[in-house]
């Protein structure tokens, strides 16, 4: 037990989780923006934009996140020498955020589209009947209802994003939780189970309240029909 507790003096577990939380936070914002634009493309009347939205979703939804993040490090950072910050670690961190964002944007797009499908036809017809064209109808009538209908699937995307932030290890973000867990287990292989349970519990504590919260919010905010 003392051995176990002394681990926390050597290694800063909370700092590692904080890295994952930061990765998830920025990636969630970027993915929400990209995903909403993509969803708009997919429901717009313009065929080329529809096609682009569908192509984006199909490509990124079917690519393993590991490849995207490994590409960020091995391809963008090492070969193309794209650097998003002066500092090496900050640059890798930001590239990982980009990778997480482009991947999860595809799922955000699908979540919002499933939200759009919960909006009854009559709402759009009413919007058109009072003379709104596509963008005002989308902005004022459809999307506000679609977001409320999409809270539960969006919450699932957020949960997946938090868990997937560990994959940033493939993008050489060495300060995040799964990398630290690996280092700790390699250092104290006799404590492998307590170390794993500590990290697992950390994710349970992060993820389960979000699940409960989004379920509650999706019920509370559901449009009564």
């Amino acid at each position: 037990m003392e051995d176990y507790l002394s681990l926390f003096e050597t290694y800063d577990v909370l700092a590692a989780f904080w890295v994952n939380i930061q990765l998830s936070f920025w990636a969630a914002i970027c993915a929400l923006i990209i995903g909403t634009v993509l969803a708009l493309f997919r429901i717009s009347p313009i065929p080329s934009l529809q096609w682009f939205g569908a192509a984006y979703v199909n490509i990124f939804r079917n690519t393993p996140l590991t490849i995207i993040l490994a590409f960020g490090f091995l391809g963008l950072f090492s070969v193309m020498q794209i650097s998003l910050a002066a500092d090496l670690n900050a640059s890798l961190f930001r590239i990982a955020i980009v990778g997480l964002s482009v991947y999860h944007a595809a799922f955000v797009c699908e979540a919002i589209r499933s939200g759009v499908n919960t909006v009854p036809l009559g709402q759009a017809e009413a919007a058109r009947a009072i003379g709104l064209s596509f963008l005002p109808a989308a902005r004022l009538i459809i999307l506000p209802q679609a977001f409320r209908g999409a809270i539960a699937p969006l919450g699932n995307v957020l949960i997946a994003l938090i868990k997937n932030s560990t994959v940033a290890a493939a993008g050489s973000v060495a300060t995040e939780a799964s990398s630290l867990m690996k280092t700790m287990i390699e250092f104290r292989s006799d404590l492998v189970i307590p170390i794993f349970l500590t990290f697992a519990l950390g994710f349970v504590i992060l993820v389960i309240p979000i699940g409960l919260l989004t379920t509650w919010a999706s019920r509370k905010l559901a449009v009564a029909r």
């Binding site: 690519t63 996140l65 995207i68 499908n117 036809l121 709402q123 287990i185 389960i208």
Partner: protein, 289 residues
């Protein structure tokens, strides 16, 4: 209801002209983005013939792509079978009429769904490797399969549960009426019907398993991504190699997703008159890691 009909009328002459203009602008923007990507790649010399010719040589396929793909498919195929078994056991467990069984299954499933697959993979890899229970060179493979099974098995358990709960109550009542016990009615009446309804969602989960098998890259399992990285380092064409790896995954997964969509249309007549649990389940888990 398709989203297309929701938002706009059948266009008149002026709207058609606007759509045409928008379409041309859209095409130009998309082409512009593509041209920019290609130009940037070209600037760094990524489009030179020498970068791509290795993929025309037989030895690249023989020594890198095919062995990697074989390892990826092997891990994914075994994990698919074991996670369906795991999912059935724990899904039925969550529906059991025995409170302790339901409770244990619930805690296990909720716990495994909340823990990142990568954490489980690293844990089993290092734990198996240091315990000496398996040969060290097999540890990454076993870790990949076990971690994929535990995570995806618990997602499938939830699919089974929501599938059974979506059935009309008359099915269970009919089972009781002909004298089956609760367990018998679950096994021989409810679960088989739920399985058919959840088939599309199940196939979507297979896509997740295949994608997540690439996490084996991080724990040194020699799957496709690992082989392609070796190829890229050897030939100095890491960007083309990773793109080919991604393309292979996209083709296989796109095929599986299309199959899932087709099946859900095909099966809709068998599952009419009940809640569209399969569709709901897909929407429920869009994150699909």
């Amino acid at each position: 209801m398709s989203a297309q009909q929701v938002l706009f009328d059948a266009p008149g002459p002026r709207a058609r002209r606007n759509i045409l203009i928008g379409n041309i602008v859209g095409v130009l923007i998309v082409l512009g983005i593509l041209a920019w990507i290609i130009a940037t790649l070209g600037e760094k010399g990524q489009l030179e013939a020498s970068m791509w010719t290795p993929f025309l040589e037989a030895r690249t396929w023989e020594f890198f792509i095919l062995p990697g793909l074989a390892n990826t498919l092997k891990a994914a195929a075994i994990a698919i079978v074991t996670s369906v078994v795991f999912g059935l056991i724990f899904g039925v467990g969550r529906l059991s009429h025995l409170t302790p069984v339901r409770w244990v299954a619930g805690v296990v499933v909720e716990f495994l769904r909340a823990v990142p697959v990568l954490l489980m993979m690293i844990f089993f890899w290092l734990a198996l490797g240091s315990s000496g229970a398996v040969p060290p060179q097999d540890a990454p493979f076993i870790a990949v399969v076990v971690a994929l099974t535990l995570y995806n098995g618990s997602v499938i358990a939830e699919l089974v549960r929501s599938g059974v709960q979506g059935l009309p109550t008359g099915q269970r009542e009919a089972g009781m009426a002909i004298g089956l016990t609760a367990g018998q009615s679950l096994r021989s009446i409810e679960v088989p019907q739920a399985l058919i309804a959840m088939l599309p969602a199940l196939i979507s989960q297979f896509v997740v398993i295949l994608k997540d098998s690439a996490l084996g890259f991080i724990i040194t399992y020699p799957e496709l991504l690992q082989y392609m990285r070796r190829l890229g380092v050897g030939e100095g064409n890491i960007i083309p190699s990773l793109m080919v790896a991604a393309a292979i995954f996209i083709i296989i997964n796109f095929g599986l997703s299309t199959l899932a969509t087709r099946l859900s249309v095909l099966l809709s007549f068998r599952t009419k008159g009940r809640k569209p649990a399969a569709e709901e389940a897909i929407a429920m888990d869009p994150a699909s890691t």
